[in-house]
Amino acid sequence: MRTIRNQLASVNPIALIFYGLIVWFIVAFLIYPNVNIYYEIFFKDGKFSLDAAEKLLSSERAMRSLYNSFILAVSLVFTVNIIGVVLVLISEYFDIKGAKILRLGYFTTLIYSGVVLVSGYKFVYGENGFMTKLLAGLFPSFDPTWFHGYWAVLFVMTFACTSNHVLFLSNAIRKIDFQTVEAARNMGASTFYILWRVVLPVLKPTMFALTILIFLTGLAATSAPLILGGKEFQTITPMILTFSKSVSSRDLAALLALVLGLATLVLLTIMVRFERKGNFMSVSKVKSELVKQKINNKLGNIAAHILAYFLFLIYIIPVVLIIIFSFTDAHSISTATLDFSSFTLNNYLFVFSTMSAFKPYLVSIAYAAAASVAVVALTLVASRILHKFKNKWTLALEYALLIPWMLPSTLIAIGLIVTFNMPRLVIGNAVLVGTVWMLFLAYVIVHIPFTLRMVKASFFSLDSNLEDAAKNLGAKPFYTFMKVLLPIILPSTLAVLALNFNSILADYDLTVFLYHPLYQPLGIVIKNSTDAQALADTKAVTLVYSVVLMIMSGLTLYFVYGRKSRS
């Protein structure tokens, strides 16, 4: 009894309010909507029914989209892994001339992704695109409307989804003890035997994790099938989006989202299992650094160089063309022709001087800033609790905060829509659908798991003696936190904040479900400009948006990763 009372006495009232807020947030926004979605599907009129499931099974479009998503996910597993491994081998393992420049090209997917990337590819390869014109000029029988459907989606997503390979697989390959490669050479193994038997097996766990991520990305693909899929290739998320727009089919949208969620859950469970089982541990205590391998076979060497530069072109062409055409007038953009006289700075002047053109920026920046600050604040408090106490309640807290990690963002969005479209007691009987708050909440929710993991990691790497020392010198907990702990974890926290800000800025996949029609964020505006009927002026503005977004991401990545790796 005494200990409980002591504990209560030692907790100050401000902390208690914080704890209360966190619990309320978790219940209201992480648990309630995601549980309520089952109720909306299966207990629509107060009693259990499988109507929604029947409707789904009898809807040919819906079943078709499920099938397409599955096909896309499976195809991507192969194409992305192949391209990803080739990229990493070219930039890290083999001795390819100009690897530094090549790598810059392969890294371009880090500075633009999602809707910006897809719209960029459509701009370049679409009906009036520069590359389509070029190809049509070379091959007279070339069909200018070629770039849509399964192949177009697969093409774009294959090259768009290699970012994780470039980041994580490169890291894994750099960790290989080069002495193992030399040992294999000493025993007579050839370049490709070594690659197959010594190098690739070490990469297997990383590739397994990446494969699951690719599969999930393929299943939940949004912007690529929406923009390039055309009528013939619709996948789950675009279908959910369509269904969620009308009240009568909202249960279908919810059920489809649930299917997606289930698939995600199963795959992530497999992944966690596999990771926990562990695979192997490097036994090398003194590693030597990987030395790039020369390809001794002359033909093989030439082929590798050609492949390397061909891939480089694929990666770099959309970026270069987006940048070039952002400096040209509407005529050039709509006809995909380049002329010295058509170069102009007007697009940039227009965006930064006209309120209507600049508004999407303001909206996105406001959302990104507010949500990323909120999510960091929330996770800081949560991490502090997790760091300070260790019991079943904190364990529950941690798991609750990781819920969004296991759910696709589409499911979260649908959960929010079907839950908060009527007054709910848990949020004081307010209706959130149709307000600007929906999107803000969704951004916060989706970014909690990643932020929590990073912030928590930096909390747990703190020297515990620091806190004791501060206590010993007479500092109160809050003072210790502000003056001693926070300054130490601030750099990594700010880095997470910047990454979150970036990813929210150009988000489309989540935004499209929840945005307020009067406050359209960048992602929506960029997507709309890819429509066939969009004006050339709109396209010009979109190009400017894209370039500025690329610059912002590039700078963020440089400040977060670039400088760290140098020091």
């Binding site: 002495q179 193992t180 040992a183 294999a184 050479r185 025993m187």
Partner: protein, 335 residues
């Protein structure tokens, strides 16, 4: 067996090895000893074939192997990290080289089990992950993996440097026993003089890309050819010129040259032989090491000398004692 003839190795403008000539005999345990960056690993790697020399020849049993590919030299290497493949178990690690050579399954199995037994790896350890083995077992796997190919030479690149002190001594003995058992010509690279002295038949001391001295451990230690060698190996006194000038020593050695004497050869007890010179001095410092104590002596006439005395349990000397000090002029090294 192995002859290096005028070997030169360059990395860009850096001249790593300058005109190296060396002969290694069949069955010998030969050590390349030197500080880091002296070129010892470089020359080993050129022997194995990872580095092509810019000039000179490497002869193996009378044949020029300078430009023979790595896998055709029949030289197996044991790496500093052991370079065991983490994704394969012990058996697969040992079998790797034979699989590359496309040996038959039965042959591989026979050879792998045979060599595993010879290096004292137990049957049940063969199918363990390499990460589940202790440091000593890992070393034995690395050696078995190298020996299963029946190389004519075994090249070891600092295989003990990533272990803690106690294990290092234990594995050192194990390594020596294995080498005796197989009788294979072994080239061993290390920066640890104790390893070099205890293991080797002969030692080559490297510095800045050149060989300073080649000889047996006793020769290298007692008759260090150069100032570098005598400083690099063991503890040594640089004798103050004042000590020489103001004592009998000036009659037997040249006071204008730099003179050194090993710590343990400065004696506090009279030495046999007529040549022995007696100095007088005072103990100014004592450090107790358990097995022995180290004393610093201030010599009458100038200069300091260090010496060690085995601790027999009777502490005979203490700081401030005035004592006689005995030196054999023949033990003095001059450069």
């Amino acid at each position: 067996m192995i002859t290096f003839h005028d070997i030169q190795i360059k990395f860009g403008h850096f001249h790593a090895i300058k005109n190296l000539n060396l002969h290694i005999k069949e069955g010998e345990f030969f050590t390349f000893l030197g500080p880091s960056g002296c070129g010892k690993t470089t020359i080993l790697r050129s022997l194995v074939g990872f580095i092509a020399p810019a000039g000179g020849q490497i002869m193996l049993n009378g044949k020029d192997i300078t430009h023979v590919p790595i896998e055709k030299r029949e030289i197996s290497m044991v790496f500093q990290s052991y370079a065991l493949f983490p994704t394969m178990n012990v058996y697969e690690n040992i079998a790797f080289g034979m699989r590359v050579k496309k040996a038959s399954k039965a042959e591989i199995d026979r050879e792998v089990r045979d060599i595993a037994q010879k290096v004292d790896l137990k049957e049940e350890q063969l199918f363990k992950k390499v990460s589940e083995l202790s440091g000593g077992q890992q070393q034995r796997v690395a050696i078995a993996r190298a020996l299963v190919l029946k190389p004519s030479i075994l090249a070891l690149d600092e295989p003990l440097s990533n272990l803690d002190a106690k294990l290092r001594v234990q594995l050192r003995n194990e390594l020596k026993n294995l080498q005796k058992k197989f009788g294979i010509t072994t080239i061993y690279v290390t920066h640890d003089q104790e390893e070099a002295l205890t293991l080797s038949d002969r030692i080559a001391v490297f510095n800045n890309g050149i060989i300073e001295q080649v000889g047996t451990p006793q020769e290298v230690y007692n008759q260090s050819k150069t100032e570098f060698v005598c400083n690099f190996i063991g503890d040594i006194n640089k004798i103050d010129p004042l000590t020489i000038m103001n004592s009998q020593l000036k009659e037997s050695i040249d006071p204008n040259k730099i003179a050194y004497i090993r710590n343990e050869k400065v004696s506090l007890l009279p030495l046999p032989g007529k040549e022995a010179v007696q100095l007088r001095g005072t103990i100014v410092d004592q450090e107790f090491y358990g097995l022995y104590s180290k004393y610093v002596l201030e010599i009458e006439g100038g200069g300091l000398l260090k010496t060690i005395e085995k601790e027999t349990g009777f502490s005979r000397y203490k700081v401030g004692d005035k004592i006689g000090i005995f030196i054999h002029p023949g033990d003095i090294l001059q450069y």
